[in-house]
Each structure stands twice: as C-alpha cells, then as structure tokens.
C-alpha cells in the first residue's frame, strides 16, 4: 500500500523526486526579525501522501500559506505542475487545482451543509452577477453540482445533515465537511493543515481512510500533522521542518529514527508509557 522509489539519489533534505508535482526553490519569509520559513529546495512527489511534520513555530503553516498564495514570500520561486505560482493570488491557485484546508476549520456555519458543498464547485456560470438573475442559465449546472455534492456527502457520511446549518455540526463533522467541500472542485493536489486536530481518536480512522481514498483516486496529498501514529500509518514520504528549515526527509520509519528529528520534535518517550517515566506505576522486572 505504501509507495516507494520516490526519490532520486541519496535521501537528504531537498532530495529530487522522480515525479514532482511541486518544486520549490529558495523560499523564504521573515516576520519582523524572525525567519519563519527558509526552504532551500523541496520537491513534493506526485500521486502519493506526503506528511509535513515539525514542532510548532517551525514554519509549516506559513509554508502552506506561501505555497497556496495566502501569503507572499520575501524570496523564492515554486512551480505547480510545471507552472510558476509565485505572485499568483490564493483564489487563482485554488482554481489551478491546488486546494487547501485550514487548521481552524472554516466550515461556513451560516450556510447549510449542502450549500457549503455547492460553494466548492468550480466553473459555475450562476456565480456571474448577470447570469445569476436568470435561473434558466444556471439551473442545469446546479443540478449537476448537487448530484456530485450528495455523492460526496454520502461518502463522508454527512448526507442526513445536508440541510442543517454547518454551525450545528460537531468539530469532527466540520473537518469532514471541509475535506468533502475541498474535493468538489476535483483538485490535483489537496493540502490539509492538521486534519486530525480536535478529532476523536475513533473518528481518526475514518478520516485516514478518506485520505487514503484520495490517493487511490490519483490525487496528491500534502498534510501537516502532529499525530505520529497517523503519519506512520498513511504517509509515503515525510518532510521534517524545524525553525523554518527542512531538517530531514524520507520514508516514515527512516525519518522517525533520525536523531535530529527525535531531539527537535518526537521526544525520546515516543513509544514508552508516561506512567512509567513519571514513576507512577512500577512494572514487574524484565519489562521496559
């Protein structure tokens, strides 16, 4: 299930990929005197799931914002599908097939679930000011969009909530809605900013399945996460950022045993029981 053979040459930060969908060069951004992002070179492999991990303040969300046009860099160029995206505003980036979700969910609470979904579709004649006054011009497309929306809602198990205002959904359901909505435009690259944050462990499994489905359908996924079990479970490739730079890249197991990564991010207690570490429980002799 995991994809391999994604890189060319020795594994190191900035290593080239066999089939990159994004190639970024010398991207940097500072706020005040603080360097938020300083990425020499990064290539994101196409058609697989890449995880972007790192401590808070490492620059992951800032990097996301730069790639998707929500922020402008101080320097750097990057290409998506061979076309330069530098200076392209956020809405145009989305139109080109690169969609993103946000750390703090942006399900539009004052719209119903179905309206949220329909908003996600692209090429809607009905969104034109003059065309919108004449329903006959956009009704057919609207029916098409609704059919697709209902299909996606069914898949994400949100169908019976379709006429509820998104405000009444739980946190986990809103995450699902945001993901489903992002898929309405049939994107090529889906960028998820902490998709698991605030979601129950039980719901996590189904969310992971959905993300794996994206890969099955040929999309590329790039996600930011702190949940290492999730990363190990579904990521084909892992990129580690710390203090704005990329400090490691590679297959999940490789990266997680990398000393620099452990020090900066994972901590040495990753797989141990904190009850033991804090001395609250005593284990019988012979167990770790």
């Amino acid at each position: 299930m995991k994809s391999t053979g994604l890189h060319i040459g020795e594994v190191a930060p900035g290593v080239k990929k066999v089939d990159p969908i994004i190639v970024a060069d010398h991207v940097s951004k500072s706020f005040g005197g603080l360097t938020a992002v300083d990425v020499e070179h990064l290539e994101v492999p196409r058609g697989v799931i890449t995880a972007l991990i790192g401590p808070n303040g490492a620059g992951k969300t800032t990097f996301f914002n730069l790639l998707t046009g929500f922020d402008t860099p101080d320097s750097g160029t990057w290409e998506f599908e061979g076309q330069s995206l530098a200076g392209i505003p956020a809405h145009k980036v989305a139109q080109r097939g690169q969609v993103r979700t946000f750390q703090l969910t942006k399900a539009l609470s004052l719209l119903t679930v179905l309206e949220n979904m329909k908003l996600g579709a692209k090429d809607q004649q009905g969104e034109n000011l003059f065309a919108s006054i004449f329903p006959f011009l956009w009704k057919p497309k609207e029916a098409e969009i609704e059919a697709r929306a209902l299909e996606l809602l069914e898949r994400f198990k949100l169908l019976k909530l379709k006429d509820d205002f998104a405000a009444s959904l739980s946190g986990g359901q809103r995450k699902l809605l945001e993901m489903a909505r992002a898929l309405m435009s049939e994107p090529t690259l889906v960028m998820l900013d902490e998709p698991m944050a605030g979601v129950n462990p039980a719901l996590t499994e189904s969310l992971l399945e959905h993300i794996l489905d994206l890969k099955k359908e040929g999309m590329t996924v790039l996600f930011v996460e702190h949940d290492m079990h999730m990363v190990r479970h579904i990521a084909d490739w892992v990129v580690v950022m710390a203090e704005g730079k990329i400090i490691a890249e590679g297959a999940p197991d490789q990266v997680m045993s990398n000393v620099a990564v452990v020090d900066a991010y994972l901590g040495s207690h990753q797989d141990t029981d904190l009850g033991v570490v804090t001395g609250r429980i005593e284990l019988p002799e012979g167990e770790a």
């Binding site: 739980s170 462990p201 039980a202 702190h226 290492m228 991010y265 009850g275 609250r280």
Partner: protein, 243 residues
C-alpha cells in the same frame, strides 16, 4: 495514597448547556479526592470542556450540584470560585500577551495579593525554566510555553483544585510529553488536578482515575490503568493505532 478528608470536588447529576433549551451535560457525576489526578476523556460534543467550564462558572447550570471541599459552589461566578480555591487553565487565550511572564503570574493573586511572594517562590521552583525569563513578554512565547505560564498563574493562589482544559492541544509530540510530565509533577507536589484531554492514551497513562464522558453523562469510570486496558475504551477512543 490520597488522604480521605472527604472529596475535594463532588459533582452530582449536573445538567448544563449554553443555548436555551439545549443541554450538553445531562446528569454528569464526578468526584476528586485530595491529591488525585483525574482525567476526563471522550468524543467531541460529549461535554468534556463543558464540564470543566461548569466547574469554573462559565456555563449555565440547570440541574444538579457542585461542591468544593464540602461547600456548595453551584451557580457561583468565576471570580468567586477563584477566591474559594479553584484554579483554571484554559486551552486558548490563556495569557495576557502584552504583559511579561512575571506580570502574568502576578495577575494570578489579584484576588489576594498577600499570597504573591509565596506563590512566586512555589511557581518559579516548579517551573524553573521560567525563572530567568520573567521579564519576557508573554506574547512572544510559543503555545507550550504559554500554557506553562498559564498553569503557573493558576497555581499562584495555591488552589484546592487545578482545572486543565486539553493541555496537550496543538503541541508537537515532544512538547506534549513534556506537558503531561509537568502535570504529573504538579500533581505529585500535592495539587488535586482535573484534566480534560483529547489525547486519551497519554492522559490515562498518568492519571489516578478517569471518567469517560459520552453524550453528556459519565459513561464509565475507573483507574487510569483499568481504562487503558478496557476493550470498550480501546475500541472507542484509543483505536487500534493507540499505544
């Protein structure tokens, strides 16, 4: 083991909610004995944060009762609760960014400034990393550091019970572990602690007892170890990826 002077916190059949007519808690129970570390886990929407906020007077209580050290505290406002010995560490907006760390800690004894010196000594010993940085602006701190300051502030009044709302939220694995170890240390120093957590695995590993909330009620309870090995909990909240 904890001394049995009677429970520090005793919550019976609590009914509470935010919007009129909509109850989040539908008869919730919880007790915390002196010195215990209590965990509260459960799905989103089950009422974990609501229970904690009810303990801090931030939610409308519509039924049931809450007692602190045997005295009824149902319906009291937050400032009254602080005066009675409840310390709260919220998840977000937990420090004053424009104030220094020292000033943030000073805010903790606002209700009783006579406790300033004692509180400052205790807290700076507990969080020795803060000692050299007391004059630093809290706004320049990372999420995990702010949480440390917020905890320190709550501890300044030497509270009878410390309430923590998802201390590990948004933190990287190494910082999460640090946060949990820190909570454990504070509790070992004698502070009765009630902690709501999303990271059920880590929470259960360090707490004495825990409550699993579901649909506004305490569905089941047990020691941390019992629940870690409970098949129902494993299936619902730990998943097969846990531990």
């Amino acid at each position: 083991m904890a001394e049995q002077d009677g429970p520090v916190v005793e919550i019976s059949d609590l009914v509470a909610g935010y919007l009129p007519g909509v109850n989040i808690l539908e008869g919730c129970n919880l007790t915390a004995a002196k010195g215990e570390l209590i965990g509260i886990i459960g799905p989103n929407g089950a009422g974990k944060s609501t229970l904690l906020k009810a303990m801090f007077g931030q939610v409308n209580v519509r039924g049931g009762s809450m007692k602190l050290m045997g005295e009824d505290i149902t319906g009291l406002k937050a400032n009254e609760l602080v005066a009675r010995g409840v310390g709260m560490v919220p998840q977000n907006n937990n420090v004053f960014p424009s104030l220094t760390i020292e000033e943030n800690l000073e805010m903790g004894v606002y209700q009783d400034p006579s406790k300033l010196d004692e509180g400052m000594t205790t807290v700076t010993e507990l969080f020795s990393e803060l000692k050299p940085r007391l004059k630093q602006r809290a706004g320049s701190l990372s999420g995990g550091e702010r949480q440390m300051v917020a905890m320190g502030r709550a501890l300044m009044m030497n509270p009878s019970v410390l309430l923590l709302d998802e201390p590990s939220a948004g933190l990287s694995p190494v910082r999460q572990d640090e946060a949990f170890i820190r909570v454990s240390e504070i509790n070992k120093a004698g502070v009765t602690t009630v902690m709501v957590e999303q990271n059920a695995r880590r929470c259960l590993q360090i707490c004495d007892r825990a409550y699993v909330l579901d649909q506004g009620k305490d569905a089941y309870t047990g020691t941390g170890r019992e629940l870690l090995n409970d098949p129902r909990v494993i299936e619902l909240y730990l998943g097969s990826l846990g531990a």
